[in-house]
Symmetry: C2
Subunit: 260 residues, 2 copies
């Protein structure tokens, strides 16, 4: 087995080291990760400038490839160029902080997994619900179990998004499969003036659960102490609205030879 590991917190992050330590028990693990932190980059890729790639070392030994780019870049170049052969699984994480609800679309960690799915390689994104000095070993253990489940019988085109509560293992209530909920950042902006009288803003705000989201959604289940698992893809279409929208456009004269 060959796994490719990446993240969005950067190649020297503790969450990635914990993931490597656990997954190396099952597979050859190649790290291809961003040179510096890339949180909230979403599904950005680098096209306007080249990608610098460096063999990174830790304690004198080869650690992996550091890429001056985004998590999605790392997956593309890792699978296409840097791995010595076919990659069986891409695992992204362990992210510092949960990736649930609408916030998933801002996540570099999750985008690495969806990029992998686009390239036809099964994938898993793993996040720990903590911004503190957390212990990643419990999450790493769940990641290993899930990774084995995925590679045994992959679901084509699917990226699995896993979130782990920051709890001792015996307090975790189990693993549940849930949908992406509607929890989101309720943002505010703090306006300031710099020493040269230029105006700038800091994005602030807190993630809030959505009214109506229940235990079948990721954010709520995670808060209740479950490990959450959500299968993701890249089709953003509101299929249920295709007919309604076509009707409205036809009524407005936009169909057939356009009168618009």
């Amino acid at each position: 087995m060959r796994y490719l590991l990446t993240n969005d917190d950067g190649i020297y992050a503790r969450g990635l080291a914990a993931l490597w330590a656990e997954l190396s028990k099952d597979a050859d693990c190649l790290i291809v990760a961003p040179e510096v932190e890339q949180s909230a980059v979403g599904h950005a890729i680098t096209i306007a400038r080249p990608l610098m790639v460096r063999a990174a070392r830790k304690n004198g030994r080869f650690l992996g490839y550091a890429v001056a780019g985004t998590p999605a870049d790392c997956v593309k170049i890792g699978i296409r160029e840097l791995a010595d052969g076919p990659v069986d699984l891409v695992v992204s994480g362990i992210n510092r902080g949960a990736n649930v609800g609408i916030n998933v679309i801002y996540s570099g960690t999750v985008s690495a997994a969806t990029e992998s799915a686009i390239l036809g390689v099964p994938s898993l994104a793993v996040s720990l619900d903590s911004y503190g000095e957390a212990d990643y070993s419990v999450a790493a253990r769940f990641a290993r179990k899930m990774a084995r489940l995925i590679v045994k019988d992959p679901l084509p085109g699917v990226a699995v998004n896993m979130n782990v509560p920051a709890l001792p293992r015996e307090e975790i209530r189990g693993v549940v499969v849930v949908r992406q909920g509607r929890a989101r950042l309720l943002e505010s902006f703090e306006r300031r003036v710099d020493p040269r009288d230029n105006i700038y803003y800091w994005l602030a705000g807190e993630t809030q659960l959505a009214d109506g989201d229940g235990e079948d959604s990721d954010a709520v289940a995670l808060k209740k102490g479950f490990v959450t698992v959500t299968p993701l893809h890249c089709d953003l279409t509101r299929h249920d609205l295709l007919g309604e929208l076509a009707l409205r456009i036809a009524q407005a004269g936009g169909k057939g030879t356009p009168t618009w």
Copy 2:
């Protein structure tokens, strides 16, 4: 009516000017757009540094706010801070180059529209299928028609993604509502060595239509001369797989009190 206009090609782009010229006939249009080009940034937002905001001018008159950030940043700060009142519609574009198929997830133009939908404001992304010195006026005219249709009776939480062929208006075959197809970049990397012996790579490759995609998908319909319209949202869940994945995890011992 108050529209907020943005894009990912930067505040001085021709596509944005064409959009403003046409939409100003119907609404007060405030431009809040990136200071510099942001193509392929996907749904990135800026959290690690502040957003510089500048009143940009053109020919001595106020053009709009230039934000040193991403299209999604522009929408957040435009709606929350910079607009003088409630925004009725966000329009993003006109992008230089189509945004269809899987490539939609890399698009800053489309991400501005989905960000707006998250904030509860109806939105429209507009792209022209040309990288040359194209005429944006035909696309701007279709954008105006679609904008009026959306604000008349908004579909909550929906971002509309519109692509316009680079054809004279009389050769456009009509407006069709289609799903996001599976056309995607088939990438390759060109390896080079810099003057200091560091290795770097350029992302190359071409977008290819997917086998099995027909005229009900965006890329195919666009190539055949139709204006395409696709309703998008931010739920990436593969709802059809929730049960199957839950079954597999249960069989592997992951449900209930975890044995993992």
